[in-house]
């Protein structure tokens, strides 16, 4: 009993001295009180949204086009992938590469059941995407390590969806939506040409995919 009381007294004095020490150093105190809320922040970045910059040119001209002096800063939406399990053709997603588990940014071209006409490095001319997998490609066919190299990827490797470009300000806007020709741009101007090229690339991309006739059944447990 005596030892317990002594230990408690020691502990109380230790806490008191810690408190006194903190009161003398407001900056440390501020830092620690911010650190306490770290789990909440980490949880939000893991299951909600976070902001990252994108490196590399494999997604140009959607992300990091050649004429951009900055790296694009994008809002990554993990909520719709990790919790809602929503995967759609045309979405730009970040996934762990099967080749080295590093995070890469690609576009979902086809989902399970679809038939894709592949591009050169892939051995077969046409491939049916297996159950639970997706076919991902970069927007720039010459500078990308994508499904044409490593084949269809399991959906579980997909970590987040890129939903919104935050910076640079000329291209602020949501990503992964169906492209439409911009009628507001004047014919022949650079903006018009760019939108036409985007549209053409989009139609070329979708023309290589035969979408599965109906919603494929979910795999049995």
């Amino acid at each position: 009993m005596q030892t317990i009381r002594l230990a408690r007294a020691g502990w109380a004095s230790f806490r008191q001295s810690g408190r006194d020490h903190l009161n003398k150093q407001p900056r440390l105190r501020w830092f620690l009180s911010a650190l306490v809320w770290l789990p909440l922040g980490l949880f939000v970045t893991e299951y909600g949204f976070n902001v990252k910059s994108v490196k590399g040119r494999s997604m140009q001209p959607t992300l990091n086009p050649d004429d951009s002096p900055w790296r694009d800063i994008v809002l990554f939406d993990r909520f719709s992938v990790k919790l809602r399990k929503k995967y759609e053709r045309g979405d730009v997603v970040a996934l762990k590469s099967p080749a080295d588990s590093k995070l890469v940014v690609k576009r979902i071209i086809a989902l399970e059941g679809d038939v894709v006409r592949t591009l050169p490095p892939y051995p077969d001319a046409e491939v049916r995407v297996p159950v639970g997998c997706a076919w991902v490609e970069g927007d720039e066919p010459f500078r990308t390590e994508d499904s044409n190299r490593f084949g269809p990827v399991p959906l579980g490797l997909i970590e987040s969806r890129l939903s919104f470009i935050i910076w640079p300000w000329e291209r602020i806007g949501s990503l992964g939506q169906p492209l439409v020709a911009r009628h507001d741009a004047k014919r022949g101007t650079p903006g018009w040409r760019k939108s036409q090229a985007d549209l053409e690339r989009g139609t070329w991309r979708t023309s290589r995919v035969t979408i599965a006739p109906s919603q494929p059944p979910t795999s049995p447990s």
Partner: protein, 183 residues
């Protein structure tokens, strides 16, 4: 009588607290946020460091009961230090919402026989496991969908490693590595 007076006192103090403006504007939101923060910390611990998880189903039968048992699962793993015979959990390549447990039978660079039983592929077919992939099989080959069906599994899908059985308590024990090398 004492307990009654005590209950009345408690009710009174709760009533006094609830009536104050400070309780609704400061204390309650702050306590809620603190509770949420604590819950997040627990969840993150279970997600990244270690957790106790329930394993069931017929695919691992001699090791795990069909009815299910609880196992200590280490989430903080180094995927490059896994060995053949480890029990690992990973996101099913067939369904991203499911986490499955299998035994590693091949590491990158190994040559494995696709299916020794000959049901999914002729038993003479062999593959080389590519870099950053593993070959997994269930212990109950007749009732398991594993690498024989979906091929090598990318290491990015790995979630954790089962370390020990904790429930039922009578069968508590660290999972042994059942791998034998034939010289």
């Amino acid at each position: 009588m004492v307990s009654r007076a005590w209950a009345a006192g408690l009710w009174n103090s709760v009533h006094q607290t609830v009536r104050t403006r400070r309780f609704w504007t400061v204390s309650l939101p702050y306590r809620t946020l603190q509770f949420a923060n604590f819950a997040c910390a627990l969840h993150l611990f279970g997600d990244h460091i270690a957790t106790i998880s329930w394993v069931e189903g017929p695919s691992m039968v001699p090791t795990m009961a069909v009815a299910g048992e609880a196992a200590l699962e280490l989430k903080w793993i180094n995927v490059n230090k896994l060995t053949r015979g480890d029990l690992v959990t990973f996101i099913s390549p067939l369904d991203p919402g499911r986490i499955v447990c299998k035994r590693i039978t091949g590491l990158p660079g190994d040559v494995v026989c696709v299916d020794p039983t000959g049901t999914y592929a002729p038993s003479t077919e062999h593959v080389v496991i590519p870099k950053n992939h593993i070959w997994v099989t269930g212990d109950n080959l007749a009732w398991s969908r594993d690498s024989r069906v979906y091929g090598p599994v990318p290491m990015g899908l790995l979630k954790g490693r089962l370390y020990a059985r904790v429930w039922p308590v009578t069968q508590f024990g660290v999972f042994p590595n059942t791998f034998d090398y034939i010289s």
